[in-house]
Assembly symmetry: C2
Homo-oligomer: 430 residues x 2
């Protein structure tokens, strides 16, 4: 794995290179996606079933688009019992963590009869998209559904593509059932996103759409944003490891590869103050790659977006971490909690030698849906926050309004909004 000396110039080049992976650079598919979305909006089920036949090669209609209880029962017979047990353990951890994110309505009152507050309401209906086939990750189902359940969402609808026989991947169905999905529909791609955004005869319109997908799904979500809410448009996965000389090179190497295997666009970056560690990690990576089943993907991802950066000082290393704003960040330094206080931008921060990234992907409890592509500068992990919304609450007594009514009238008149001023005046007219 290549070793690069960290300088202002190399950092700039790497930042530019990483941004190539942005979904912004897929404008060429935008028109196609927009056409599909508009077509679903106007022709609804008819268009949906046509696209399903075209892209998924499956004959789906109003009678079989919704997954039945019998299909779910069948799926349970096809899933390994031990995996089911692991899924159930993971659900407990994920639920426990997300319960702590719950926000509550509050108010504050004063004894002249004023009350101000904020009412928290769960979203009524949420759509969860789950990719089909090989890309079907049960962990992804759990991570998208459980925060919505914890938030108290009224109805959770899932769409996922079926295979040519009209079957949905059994682990997806089992994970959906275990996590508490209310309805599952056989629909994939941009057409599924449009169906959730506008509703069709078969698929209910939702308030928010979450879940990962390919570039067509990502662009479709962007296209319907504003009409419904969406989670952030996810880019390829990323790991960054910030390490000093105390780090175990073999662990660091294994962790870098855990993200590089996701796809050829994934990025794995070590930034370290130790030249010795850099060399050892590079060797360990080369050793591991040969043995791993996804070695072709890993090699391409490392060639494209993999770096071992050697920094002069820990401060330079930390600055780079904050500028790259990685989805996953492992901090493997002598005092990782101290280092963590200096991190401004990262989706999830894993501290110390035994908090390897896959622990967070599957099991520990925090969400694995994280901001990618530098968006950790302003976006947060998927959370219960994504499935609630707030309303301001304002109550003033006559006495309380009277005390401030002239200020409000002055302000309104300064903004030339006389009907605003009138609405206050009329309450105190003689």
């Amino acid at each position: 794995m290549r070793i690069v000396k960290l300088t202002e110039d190399t950092k700039k080049d790497i930042l530019t290179n990483l941004l190539k992976r942005s979904p912004d650079n897929y404008g060429s598919y935008e028109e196609t996606v927009k056409n599909i979305v508009n077509d679903i909006h106007s022709r609804r089920d008819t268009a949906l079933f046509e696209y399903t036949e075209k892209f998924d090669h499956a004959k789906i209609n109003a009678d079989n688009v919704r997954v039945t209880e019998a299909e779910i029962e069948e799926a349970y017979t096809q899933v390994d019992a031990k995996l089911l047990e692991t899924i159930r353990k993971a659900i407990v951890n994920i639920r426990t963590y997300h319960e702590k994110q719950k926000q509550y309505s509050w108010f504050d009152s004063e004894n002249n009869g004023t009350l101000l507050g904020q009412k928290v309401t769960p979203l009524a209906k949420v759509g969860v998209y789950v990719p089909g086939g090989k890309a079907a990750y049960p962990s992804s189902v759990l991570m998208n559904v459980i925060p919505a359940k914890v938030a108290g969402v009224g109805k959770i609808v899932m769409t996922t593509p079926c295979n040519a026989e009209g079957k949905v991947y059994p682990t997806t169905l089992v994970a959906a059932k275990e996590a508490g999905v209310d309805e599952v529909y056989k629909a994939g791609g941009a057409q599924a996103i449009a169906a959730l955004a506008y509703g069709t005869e078969s698929i209910p319109k939702v308030d928010k759409i979450v879940g990962p997908g390919n570039i067509f799904v990502a662009l479709a979500k962007r296209c319907v944003f504003g009409h419904v809410s969406i989670d952030s448009v996810a880019g390829p996965s990323e790991i960054m490891v910030l390490a000093d000389e105390t780090a175990n090179a073999r662990y660091v190497a294994a962790d870098l590869l855990s993200q590089a295997e996701h796809d050829e666009m994934a990025s794995a970056i070590l930034v370290t103050t130790s030249e010795e560690l850099a060399k050892k990690v590079s060797e360990e990576v080369d050793g591991f790659v040969k043995e791993l089943s996804r070695k072709d993907i890993i090699q391409k991802s490392l060639d494209n977006y993999g770096y071992i950066l050697v920094a002069d000082t820990m401060q330079d290393a930390i600055d780079t971490v904050n500028e790259i704003a990685s989805e996953h960040l492992e901090v493997v330094t002598a005092n990782p909690f101290d280092t963590m206080t200096r991190i401004q931008n990262a989706g999830a921060i894993f501290l110390g030698s035994y908090s390897s990234e896959p622990l967070g992907d599957y099991f520990a409890g925090p969400n694995h849906v994280l901001p990618t592509n530098g968006t950790a500068k302003f976006f947060s992990p998927l959370s219960v926050d994504d499935f609630i919304k707030k309303s301001s609450i304002i109550y003033y007594s006559r006495e309380a309004l009277e005390a401030v009514h002239e200020d409000i009238i002055d302000f309104a008149e300064a903004e030339y909004l006389t009907a605003h001023a009138n609405s206050i005046k009329v309450r105190f007219e003689k």
Copy 2:
């Protein structure tokens, strides 16, 4: 003002009519906006100053694009002392309310050496857009800037168009200074949004852009979304009043007009169970309109999007309120707090006869930047939440990881991610 009997059919027609105001229906400007955004991205300051000359008829360059301290001092001499005092009172109320929205980092640990948590970090740089000229509302400056300040944002940059003489509206400058803006730049329209999103030689790139604007500003914000974060794309203003027979018709009428005066696309709707109230409000509205300075705008807005709806039951009325999901909702019923518990969707809820909407616009403290066009179903008022982001924190000891490592390996292997499994295995290899 027209009175309509509330039925499933009339409700459907009204919902369809209201959605005509969505920014989605301005696709024809999209190309223009995209070109401006791309031009700023590639030609930066040069393009920015060209557009400023073209659209604002002002000669701006790198030397005078940033508002100076002297210009701010001059602005103070041009603003009415009483208005300044009112602005300062409003700032105290707005700050006090938003302080209560602050979220804190937290962690939860178990005595086997596991710690999970969430780190809250304010955004580093935020851009606030403020429209120019007549549309320059000092209250809007306060509402966009104060939550960012309370969140602890590192740098707040404002852009606002100047007039042909290169001057910025003085009240805007004074409000910016009072609220704590760090830098003000003379730039407006889509070009200002692009400058904030990508940075130019003069204007710093920010992490998030907030603030109202015309359709070009709204489309530009949508266009840069993902590259930076944005607040929601605001549509025209709306008020809905939910009233029973106990409401004061004159107050209700005045409050409907307070939003109708904003622009011709604004919507003002009363939904009531009292036919008598409906008639009285209609008469009061007609009486007020004649006297108000913005009567032409008001009349058009009422003709387009104004309704008095008479519902058979309070439940029908509440259902309609939840389906329309208005930006502002006044609840004027015998027991408004009870009614409020039944409201799912509204940006801000004003309770009782003395909590008129302009109280919230200027003074009480809650934010006046609210979700419009039915988006209160999934979006929230602008708040401190908009100016922070979160990172998950994960720490496991060797002991804690060892206890669960086989589960994680099983899960990873079930997802065919062998490098993920390897990252756990390597830590417990013999």
